[in-house]
Point group: D2
Chain length 100, copies 4
């Protein structure tokens, strides 16, 4: 089962700057070979359910390992059985309708 995820990891108890933790999560998605794209309030990740979820778990383990005592993550998670649809397909579906 393929999944498209949008994830935002929020480290708590470590001050207001969280970018260094986001960097580590980006590296985890890259190392896992998952197609991923960061935006200003999270990261889109697509791939096999188990591989994506393993990467998310590794994000939590890694960020805790960096000394963060509490993490609050939010995830949007989409699956569909009617057809395949990539991250780019979703963008294209909207933009194609905007140009006329």
């Amino acid at each position: 089962m393929n999944v498209l995820v949008d994830i935002c990891v929020v480290p708590m108890g470590v001050g207001v700057s969280v970018s260094k933790y986001v960097v580590e999560c980006e590296k985890i998605f890259a190392a896992a070979g998952l197609n991923h794209q960061m935006h200003s309030y999270g990261t889109n990740v697509e791939g096999d359910w188990d591989e994506v979820m393993a990467a998310i778990k590794l994000c939590h383990e890694t960020v805790h390992g960096m000394g963060v005592p509490r993490i609050g993550t939010t995830i949007r998670l989409g699956t569909r059985t009617d057809r395949e649809q990539s991250m780019q397909d979703k963008i294209d579906s909207v933009t194609s309708k905007m140009n006329h």
Copy 2:
């Protein structure tokens, strides 16, 4: 690693009534032996990370199996290493501060 999750499963392409799908997810959390509590806009589930995630995957597989072509789920997911904190602990922490 223990996790506290708040999950809202939204079946798409099957009309406006989604309660029969929510029922199946509640049964999955119960059958998994996970402590869970439904509210008006989702369900709180707590337990071991892998067990909770396996139950969430089974929710998607089961709801697709009921004929739903597309699912959009949202999840809040909290872990902490500083101390154990149950679903009830979080409620108690707030209510104890409200009563004086």
Copy 3:
């Protein structure tokens, strides 16, 4: 337009304990006369769109006023035009299907 909201306010840069800020938000919902119900990972609030949104804005202003430099809130927000449905109706719709 009526709305049912599920909101989770996450203060950042103030340590791991956030319950005192949640308490203030609960008081704001109560003072606004909005039907609301806290759970372990957020609060359900229902009412007129503008009144609910005004309360959410006041939550942010109040929590910043308590010295929190950064807030990351997540909101689920449901509206429907086909029929009225209260917070309790949603619970009843699921539980009625579970009891047989």
Copy 4:
């Protein structure tokens, strides 16, 4: 009060294809003069709290007006008082740390 929002509007009861509704929301953000950037699972919008919230309300009114009986929206919503930070600043903060 400035706000950075990540919003995903999910029309329910109208089939699996939702891009035409997303298009209308994108037009609303553009017409409101708000800086906004779509990604594969939502749209980042930044601006004055009241202007952003007015645009979100107009999205719901417009999508209902197109015949959608039920909408389930998810929003991440960030405010901070310690400093100004644009959508692009957040991206830059992460990418600058990845390049060495």
